[in-house]
Symmetry: C2
């Protein structure tokens, strides 16, 4: 193992552990000491990697936000509004389902939400919120479309991270969230294999 992969492993184990502790105790209720104990390292070792708990939480949420950004950028390369919306919706739902722990934390933890919102609403040319709305509702959307997109994005995230759906397997949850998102966007819903009529002979 090279020094570089070792450092990468340490960092990734640290972020996994932080996510788990934040989920169990909230960001507020998790101390650097708890995290150090859980990892079996000293607090000093922890501070070698990160200056503060906020910095750790930022590193925990950053990959999902970067991935969403990439999904939206990729969606824009598709030809036609329909294909763009479909790509963005599939990517968004897939991200929600894969990152259920993180989404659930975002839904319930004010510290995490504050950090994520800082990125979503960052004052730059086109922040993640604006990009999301533009891909789903077009540039300069009507108020009706902006509200629909807001209901969809917030609703899908809330449902995807809801404790009552935590036991549902990923594929089933993904399909239902997709169907709901498509209905909101006025997109045709895909036929599911078990609901398709038999082909005429």
């Amino acid at each position: 193992m090279t020094a570089e992969t070792a450092a990468h492993d340490t960092r990734s184990r640290l972020l996994d552990t932080a996510l788990r502790l934040f989920s169990d105790h909230g960001m507020e209720g998790t101390s650097m000491q708890m995290l150090a104990d859980e990892l079996g390292v000293t607090k000093a070792a922890l501070y070698y990697h990160f200056k503060s708990k906020d910095e750790i939480a930022e590193a925990v949420v950053a990959p999902a936000l970067q991935e969403m950004e990439q999904i939206l950028d990729r969606a824009r390369t598709k030809r036609g509004r329909g294909a763009q919306m479909e790509h963005a919706l599939c990517g968004f739902v897939d991200l929600i389902v894969r990152q259920r722990t993180l989404i659930s934390l975002f839904n319930s933890d004010p510290g995490i939400r504050r950090l994520v919102n800082r990125t979503l609403q960052a004052p730059r040319d086109e922040n993640l919120n604006t990009k999301m709305r533009t891909v789903f509702a077009g540039a300069g959307p009507s108020l009706a479309d902006a509200i629909t997109v807001h209901v969809m994005v917030a609703g899908l995230a809330m449902a995807g991270g809801a404790p009552e759906f935590a036991a549902i397997d990923g594929d089933t949850l993904r399909q239902h969230l997709l169907d709901t998102g498509r209905r909101l966007l006025g997109r045709p819903r895909r036929q599911r294999p078990d609901k398709r009529l038999p082909e005429p002979v």
Copy 2:
């Protein structure tokens, strides 16, 4: 003014002020002392009405929750699933729009959310969450319908309390939220006057 109306006025002024302070500083950031100062009374006078900040917050959110309960009960007296859903949706959206400050607080404040969830998920025969799902998706709903209702309820509440829509007038917001809700429930959307085709002569 009778002693009874005076007590009622004091209580209602106290709850209005508490909601405003919670909105400005969060429930966590609001102390009994701040509330007493804002009301121009002593802390002792405050404790005469309420034993704790939690009890005040409960009193702040209780009327909206009771109203939602009544809307759902009334919806059930309607004949036909369509009429029941329509009554419940109109009542829910109207409540969101009238109580935007409270909804926005619920969306962003963990203390308020904890108190509201305690009522929504209360372990009783049929808590508010279950009642809401039953009215919107029928008894023993499919997973698909349960998820759609979750997306709708959470999404409408999040959008209704979102800062970016705070400046929109009540009627406009109500109409857009209703349209979005109806689309999710598969209900026909009402034609709006400005979009109606002229009657044939």
